[in-house]
Symmetry: C2
């Protein structure tokens, strides 16, 4: 399980059908463009000057225009195609009318339609192309696109608010830190920017998963906790894998018990990470477990929990079709984004599996031919003692989190200053605040979004006042 | 004169003998180290992982040690060998005792002993090696060395103040902006960070040179202003170059009149840029011009001005031995550091020579095979509307300037906030504040340095208070 890193994204495929995002058609009023982007911003080798087409999408509908220096909301793409975001992110379109904001969505290099030189398969196979696939290049792409846009739209004074979720949320906060002259502020939703090096305890992620389940049901938690050794016990029997395959209705005979355990792991982690109202997947899992008829054995109850979440199917596909060498995010975690998620013995409801940097690096090297740089993120972006370092530097960042999201363990949960703020909800989950608002949303979620909007409104108001004073002082000087 | 860019450095060779820097032996108490530096911080191509040896030098003498979290003064090398800086920069050693500071000097990649893969000649010839020669890579080198040092010295809480002059001053201010988690503050001496794109008028540099001369002597200014057409007039005569060669005692017969004009240009610019007390080179030049016996013609007076500065020599070498393709700084200005210095007609005492970006780019492309990226510096580091952008972001930077320094025209001359401060002197010149203090220093210079030291002292005091409060609040939480 060297790569058992839950996918950092607001829209993992598993949960798409539950949120109905995939079935939503791309909204109208969007226009697609391609920017001729520089492959390598940082070097001056002849190859660095190569360009590729980067997709960005604009919705003009509510924009107040250049004469009013009306704001620009820029969604910074995360590790996925922009296709999902256009419909799947609610924050921009829901708040654009209030702000008269232009909506811009920019796709992350190497995803969707923004892959350099042809198909992603080719790009991922070529170590010289793949080598330009990094967050630092990506936020610099965003810088170029946004500067180009302001110039092209002749709107030099429009304030830009960058918005992102999960990995994209990290990018948004880092963008404000590195490019304050381009973005006035950032909304970083569920951005685990402290889950690097040893800033956050390795078991942060799984500790929150565990807490989520325990809070819903002590019995559910205990059942899961006991289940792992039960699986091992059966697996070690002759014919054990066959027994497990039958018990869990796997589509194909299990090759190894770890396939089952990984599957269950992803069920629990996914449920916790996306423990959204009104379904509350953790409650669904525990409902299955707790509701299983008394006297059924542990694994029957686990199976009932699984069905509680994913529903009745003729069989369950537990084959591990994940090939890190073909996974874009796999590459990112094996080069720059080393997020050390692990578990000790008995500090979560999961079996022990400490993060082993040495082994991890070797695995990555074997897969991709180059070693990760595990200290790079804290060198380039910082992270250690973040409050000490930033409370007299930086401004205008919202770190929003839902504390039921396991990634919140690596998030910023405490205000850093008057304008670098932590906005979190006890019952929120991964990226919930930027997903589309629903009628059924609970009051705490409505309030969280309202708070975020008011903070951003404050930044923009202040900015316009500064702009006016600034212009006046220039005029007075002349 | 496509490359007539006055060398951005605290120690141009021409003036070394005047300041006596070259003859000063390297101070004792310095220890030299080499850091195994990553060639390419930003990409993950196999080649990116190549390493080279980067020189840094430490003076431990006054350091208060890790237990006291005593400060670190880090001098960020500019476009030259560190050899000159160790003796030539006074600020660190003069203030280290007061702060109990560790003194660290780090050499810029591709200079001195920090050239990747052998000699600078080889590195400059190879476009794939030279391509990694940029300011962004360089400040990231500094980030790595400083983080490594803090770790190795077990002094995680030592505040770091970065210091640099000229191009190195730009690096210092940019370092604080990009790596606030590593440097607590920056002293950026004579850093023309606004001399990019069209933020500063092209003629800023030559306007200040002109002002310097005019202030010293109206007659001197007029003589210089008239001399260019006089040179052209003579040069256009049959035998004209021979006449000029004789008049200016050139070591070899002039090939073209522009060699003479370039030489004089560099005399005037150098005199203005390094118009240091107690010699005041501009006064020396004008002393020669104004002191020439009445009735002598314009060019005799120009020659007398030249001698006023450089002294009597048997002949004067005006051959242009500057080959941009072999110049490290030439490369930097032809890739990343595009500083558009030009002159209109009649807006300075020099002949018209507008900066022509198109021509400049073509020349660079012809020389180096790649085109400059003239908008990169303002994209990556910012610069436009710097006060609007940074007055509520960033802290702890001193932009020091001497207003007789032509580069001050591209400097930050107005306070940006309470902690991003402009400290300038009317009569100061290039990097004067960080050069070694002398008994003869005028009071305004003594006061400028005192002010800088007190500001830095304030930052450090504040930091220690924050650190204490921060530790306390952690202890209270535990």
């Amino acid at each position: 399980m060297a790569y058992n890193i839950p996918k950092l994204s607001p829209h993992p495929k598993t949960f798409l059908r539950d949120t109905g995002i995939r079935s939503t058609p791309t909204p109208k009023d969007f226009e697609t463009f391609f920017y001729t982007q520089t492959l390598d911003h940082f070097n001056y080798r002849p190859e660095s000057y190569t360009t590729f087409k980067q997709r960005y999408v604009i919705n003009w509908k509510y924009w107040g225009g250049a004469n009013a220096s009306a704001p620009i909301f820029a969604y910074l793409g995360e590790e996925g195609s922009l296709d999902y975001d256009l419909a799947g992110i609610g924050f921009l379109r829901e708040n654009a009318p209030r702000f008269k904001a232009l909506q811009v969505f920019i796709e992350h290099r190497f995803y969707g339609q923004s892959v350099p030189f042809g198909s992603i398969e080719e790009a991922m196979k070529n170590h010289n192309i793949r080598g330009y696939f990094s967050s630092v290049q990506a936020i610099t792409d965003y810088a170029e696109v946004l500067m180009y846009l302001k110039k092209t739209l002749s709107t030099p004074n429009s304030p830009i608010i960058v918005i992102g979720g999960s990995y994209g949320g990290m990018l948004a906060s880092w963008f404000r830190l590195k490019y304050p002259h381009i973005a006035l502020g950032a909304l970083a939703s569920s951005a685990p920017i402290l889950y690097f090096d040893d800033i956050t305890p390795q078991n942060g992620y799984y500790s929150v998963v565990t807490k989520d389940f325990k809070e819903v049901s002590e019995n559910c938690y205990n059942t899961i906790k006991m289940s792992w050794s039960e699986i091992d016990k059966i697996a070690s029997k002759p014919n054990g894998l066959s027994i497990l395959s039958k018990k869990f209705k796997t589509c194909e005979l299990l090759n190894k018990s770890s396939d089952l355990k990984d599957y269950l792991d992803s069920i629990y982690c996914g449920a916790a990470q996306y423990d959204h109202p009104p379904r509350y997947p953790v409650t669904q899992v525990c409902g299955g477990i707790d509701g299983a008829s008394e006297g059924t054995d542990i694994l029957d109850r686990i199976f009932a929990g699984m069905i509680g979440l994913v529903g009745n199917q003729s069989c369950y596909d537990m084959s591990q079709d994940y090939d890190p060498s073909e996974s874009e995010w796999g590459w990112q975690t094996c080069s720059e984004m080393v997020i050390p998620i692990g578990r000790g013995s008995n500090d979560t409801m999961f079996p022990s599996e400490p993060f082993d940097l040495k082994q991890y690096s070797e695995d990555c090297k074997n897969i991709f031919g180059v070693s990760p740089r595990p200290h790079w993120v804290t060198t380039y972006y910082g992270g250690y003692h973040i409050k000490l370092g930033l409370h007299r530097f930086a401004s205008n960042i919202i770190f929003s989190n839902g504390l039921r999201d396991p990634y919140s363990s690596g998030g910023v949960l405490e205000d850093i200053s008057d304008t670098v703020l932590a906005v979190h909800t006890l019952n929120g989950s991964h990226c919930l605040d930027i997903l589309p608002a629903k009628e059924s949303d609970p009051q705490w979620l409505v309030m969280q979004r309202k708070k975020e909007v008011e903070i951003i409104e404050g930044w923009i108001k202040q900015y316009y006042a500064d702009l006016l004073a600034f212009k006046k002082s220039i005029e007075e000087h002349v």
